[in-house]
């Protein structure tokens, strides 16, 4: 090949590749998210009897927060007249007029923020998180906000020091950045170890106590936390991502079961805090989610579905059968009076 031919080939092919890149990028910028356009309306937190969630239905409102009346849940085709808000979140929870929204800050740098939302889902406060969003919770009174992220991206999955959990007290503005620094009390005795790891906070009604998973020494304990005393006291083993019932008597959680899908080895259980009795729910599929209580007898949780995920419901006492609640949805939050 002569020098001239080579230059000619270089110029032509480079021009072609550049054209493909530019045209595709401009078209991608111009299009909507694909699928039908969806109406965007205001959604607020002061409307009991609704479920809020991150909608994954195809369309312009994908990954936005959406609300649906409890009366209209269970529509198998997803035609539930969901109201889609302009706010988008990856992980979301809300209570008593306060929301927490974990969202992407910069995709290429893998940075995320934990944003506190007001009653109208408008941001009031933002905190940088140390990694990829995992769980988020707001206390029943709306004063405490917790979030868990995977630290250091994904490369440490498999090692046991891969999450970080923070709690924000909105009354004082105090941020407890890393719950691993709290005093762990194992079997009644103060306990220190290098491999302590905390995730999946759920709050009690007194706006101080909480429950979370404390992992150390090969165990994944349910721990009762005290924010004022900065302690975590283990009370039960093999409990992950706890969720406290509204009456404060039961914990719904995922329990690790040997011999199941290695990437999702958990099944949904409930624990009676007064007796310590574990009850398997009738949901036989494995799941990876922090459950949400619909009321004191029913638990909501997410399972993988056609468009990413669906929200299901099952009785807490092990009876009945699982029921599909909201198609194409993640991070369900029940708005309570």
């Amino acid at each position: 090949m002569t020098r001239t031919t080579r230059t000619l080939v270089l110029v032509i092919v480079t021009a072609l590749l550049a054209a493909v890149a530019v045209v595709y990028t401009i078209r991608a910028a111009g299009r909507s998210d694909g699928g039908p356009s969806q109406d965007i309306t205001e959604v607020t937190l002061d409307q009991p009897g609704r479920i809020l969630f991150r909608t994954t239905a195809a369309g312009t409102g994908r990954d936005h927060l959406a609300a649906v009346d409890l009366a209209r849940t269970g529509k198998d085709d997803g035609a539930d007249d969901r109201r889609i808000s302009p706010t988008s979140c990856l992980v979301f929870h809300a209570a008593h007029g306060t929301g927490v929204c974990l969202k992407l800050a910069n995709a290429a740098l893998h940075t995320y923020n934990a944003v506190v939302l007001d009653n109208r889902l408008l941001p009031v406060d933002s905190h940088e998180t140390a990694g990829t969003p995992s769980r988020a919770r707001v206390s029943p009174g709306g004063n405490l906000v917790a979030w868990t992220v995977f630290v250091g991206g994904e490369s440490y999955a498999g090692l046991d020091f891969s999450t970080r959990t923070s709690i924000l007290d909105r009354r004082s503005g105090t941020l407890y950045d890393n719950l691993e620094t709290f005093t762990v009390i194992r079997d009644g005795k103060p306990y220190t170890a290098a491999d302590i790891n905390v995730w999946g906070v759920t709050f009690a009604a007194d706006e101080n106590r909480f429950y979370a998973t404390v992992s150390t020494d090969g165990h994944r304990y349910l721990a009762e936390g005290d924010l004022a005393a900065k302690t975590l006291r283990t009370i039960h083993d093999n409990v992950e991502c706890p969720s406290l019932s509204p009456d404060g008597t039961h914990i719904a959680y995922k329990k690790r079961i040997a011999g199941t899908d290695p990437s999702r080895p958990w099944k949904l259980f409930t624990l009676d805090l007064r007796t310590g009795t574990e009850t398997p729910t009738s949901e036989t599929r494995t799941l990876d989610d922090q459950a949400e209580w619909l009321d004191n007898t029913t638990v909501l949780y997410t399972l993988p579905g056609d468009l990413r995920a669906d929200v299901w419901a099952v009785n807490a006492d092990g009876t009945g059968q699982p029921k599909m609640m909201v198609r194409y949805a993640l991070s369900p939050t029940v708005l309570r009076p």
Partner: protein
């Protein structure tokens, strides 16, 4: 250098073969050689550009892949971690295969081109698949492409450069390479910003870069001139021969150094994690730490490569591990905040500048030219295996003893391994200096 620069007698320069097809020998009179020596072989520049553009392409994808998989497709981070382990394992074997096949066919360029082409095609396949097994397959194919191309490419770099300028050649190549790696995430960021988070546009633009790199390779990279010994040798290199290169004493020792010193390192991710625990960094600054290291590597790759040619490449390679030890020590010593952040990053960058390309420059002249690709693959595989071992061991030590003690243990291990390597290197190398030019 050392034992076999005379033995292997494979030295070829980066200049084109003379019109009559004669390959200039290493023994070319200094007058001409020194003029050529001031520049880098055109082939090395061409390969550097190919790597630069390829790294823009692959780092664009690497930057957004976790977010795309975990948040877009809903893969759990645990499942993503498994995918990660899967494709890292898949490449080790292909690296050796790619190097050997290139030697066997005496065609390094097409084999490297195949690897670059395969990875380019994968960039287009990524947005088309959405199932976990499908994505696993595409990522594995992409890594296979990287595995196939690495050894023939490094063989081309070394075969295109005189034996006494291997450090310079690899330094220049790694500087190009790292520039691309630095630019990639910013290219991805720009596309995401312009398209309001259209991941598929990132994949398509990444493909265009990858295809452009293949074009540059096809048009401007030349096959390495055949070595005189290769012409003399009858038949093609057998696999048995390729492995027998380990019997060349100097070469085997370099492989052992790569493996053992690799096992004494803890992995960059751990350095950043330790740094983050020590200094209360804003979480959003954490992802920028690798850029500090890459910048150090980029700026120092050429000067350290030149230094290596001057004072001895193995010596610089071993000293590089001394720098890594200093990096660990800065993580253990109380320092003012600015120094506590900057020093470990800078030292880690120096470590890479002194070890990444330099290791190839140490190993290449020790292996016969006709076995160059497979030989370099062996060294790379040894180092990769060592590093994987080191990362696992450090993870276990961290879990058992906590970060501080684990780092102390890592520093002690590295000091011991480095001292052992330095002692044996000193014992065997009676003449650590380069042959005079």
């Amino acid at each position: 250098m050392y034992l076999s620069s005379s033995r292997s007698g494979d030295v070829t320069t980066g200049v084109r073969p003379a019109r009559d097809g004669r390959v200039p020998q290493a023994a070319t009179p200094p007058a001409r050689a020194s003029r050529v020596a001031r520049v880098v072989a055109p082939n090395v520049i061409a390969l550097g550009l190919v790597s630069l553009v390829t790294d823009i392409s692959s780092e664009m994808v690497t930057a957004i892949l976790p977010v795309y998989l975990v948040l877009g497709l809903g893969l759990s981070p645990l499942a993503f971690g498994m995918l990660d382990g899967l494709y890292n394992g898949a490449t080790a074997f292909l690296r050796v295969a790619g190097g050997h096949i290139a030697d066997r066919t005496r065609r390094h360029k097409p084999v490297a081109g195949l690897g670059y082409g395969l990875s380019a095609a994968c960039k287009l396949a990524l947005p088309a698949v959405s199932s976990v097994p499908g994505i696993g397959a595409v990522i594995t194919a992409d890594r296979m492409g990287k595995g196939i191309r690495t050894a023939p490419r490094d063989a081309l770099i070394s075969l295109s450069s005189p034996a006494d300028q291997q450090g310079r050649a690899f330094g220049v190549h790694r500087a190009f390479d790292t520039t691309g790696a630095l630019l990639g995430p910013f290219a991805a960021m720009a596309v995401l910003w312009f398209t309001a988070q259209a991941y598929d546009a990132v994949f398509v633009v990444s493909f265009c870069f990858a295809a452009f790199a293949v074009l540059l390779l096809v048009l401007y990279v030349r096959e390495a001139p055949a070595a005189p010994e290769a012409k003399a040798a009858t038949g093609r290199p057998r696999l048995r021969e390729a492995v027998a290169v380990l019997r060349v004493p100097g070469f085997a020792r370099v492989c052992a150094y790569a493996l053992v010193l690799g096992a004494a390192t803890i992995g960059d991710g751990m350095v950043y994690l330790l740094l983050q625990r020590r200094v209360d960094l804003r979480p959003h600054l954490f992802p920028l730490l690798p850029f500090g290291t890459a910048l150090g590597f980029l700026l120092l790759a050429v000067p350290v490569g030149l230094l290596a040619d001057r004072v001895g490449r193995l010596r610089v390679f071993l000293l590089g591990h001394g720098v890594l030890l200093a990096c660990y020590l800065t993580l253990l010593t109380p320092l003012p905040r600015a120094a506590a952040v900057a020093l470990p990053l800078l030292l880690l960058g120096v470590f890479y500048a002194a070890t990444d390309g330099v290791l190839m420059a140490v190993a290449a002249p020790l292996a016969p030219a006709r076995l160059r690709g497979g030989s370099l693959a062996l060294v790379q595989t040894g180092q990769a295996a060592g590093r994987a071992l080191g990362a696992v061991a450090f993870g276990a030590a961290w879990t058992a003893w906590g970060p501080h003690q684990a780092l102390v243990a890592a520093a002690v291990t590295l000091a011991a391994a480095g001292a052992a390597a330095a002692l044996t290197a000193h014992r065997y190398d009676t003449s650590p200096r380069e042959p005079a030019r």
